[in-house]
Chain length 161, copies 2
DNA sequence: GCGGGTTTGTTACAGTGTATCACCGCGGCC
DNA sequence: GGCCGCGGTGATACACTGTAACAAACCCGC
């Protein structure tokens, strides 16, 4: 159902994510430039949400500095294409695990122990939110739903250790 | 059900909010100092979410400067007591309209036209979230649920005007 | 090759939040 | 009274996050 079952195994998806990103861009006639690819890769490879400055540091090497502003631009692009998400409560970014329809409701599950972020979605939850908003007479444009807590893997690890 | 029906009328509650804040502090043996009172007042009087620096500017006067760091400390205190909320998507603060149980699920409805923020809560929504989290094997500690869109008043105003 | 759009580099800056240390006021205690 | 401890405040400095503005490089169609 969700990716990110374990944070050792989640590296396996990096190639898939890059391939999908490339396909999406080609399909839409947009450029998947080297910089955008590197940023996508950095976000996908990290097991947890990355700040823009973290990414800039990751991509920088002696003699080749990548400025944060460049990273922000690449991230903006990737977010527009639905390839990465921003975690508002952390000022950080994660790769999009599934392909959602744009605007579809997603819950981010942020583990405060391992820092990993999982995505979940639920029609039931979305219906409940829709009804709540309708009752309040509010027309939604954009929703942020982030839960911080402990993921199953970390909880087991703590009980075992 | 919710406060904040109109943003002209919402100023009426300021006195109540201050009274409640004072009562809460007395009850818990905490100090409701002048600075904390002023910050609470500034947050309560503004019809929309205030940034910490906005508050600092509001409270400052020629000859009496209130530094942002002081405002942050007061806000931290007021948030711990559940008297103000932080809107993560805006880096801004609003007064708490109802007295929730700590940890109770609340939705923030942020109007992108008037900037007003309403609070709503819904057992149905909360149940849906609980079930979704349980299915994902995730133990929640803290939830952020913010919806940006158009409030009823602004929608009517736009249709009329 | 040329013109025009997009992408990137660079610098500077605005906004948000925290760390640190010193000082003040107040209450308890000897 | 003098002393001490403690929470709150003031003040400075700093780290982190994000954006504006402009120039240079690049690509693509003509």
């Amino acid at each position: 159902m969700h990716r990110h079952e374990s944070h050792d195994a989640c590296h396996t998806g990096v190639g898939d994510m890059l391939a999908r990103a490339e396909a999406v861009c080609r399909e839409r006639g947009l450029q998947f430039t080297p910089l955008r690819r590197e940023v996508m890769e950095a976000v996908a490879e990290a097991g947890k949400a990355q700040g823009a400055y973290d990414i800039a540091e990751t991509l920088s090497a002696p003699g080749k500095r990548v400025a944060p502003v460049s990273v922000y631009r690449a991230l903006d692009f990737l977010m527009q294409q639905g390839l990465v998400h921003r975690i508002a409560s952390r000022n950080a970014f994660i790769p999009c695990a599934h392909g959602h329809a744009p605007g579809e409701g997603v819950v981010f599950l942020i583990c405060r122990t391992c820092g990993g972020v999982d995505e979940a979605s639920s029609g039931e939850l979305e219906d409940g939110l829709d009804r709540t908003l309708k009752r309040a007479g509010f027309t939604p444009a954009h929703t942020i739903l982030e839960v911080e807590g402990d993921c199953g893997a970390c909880r087991e690890r703590q009980q075992a250790g």
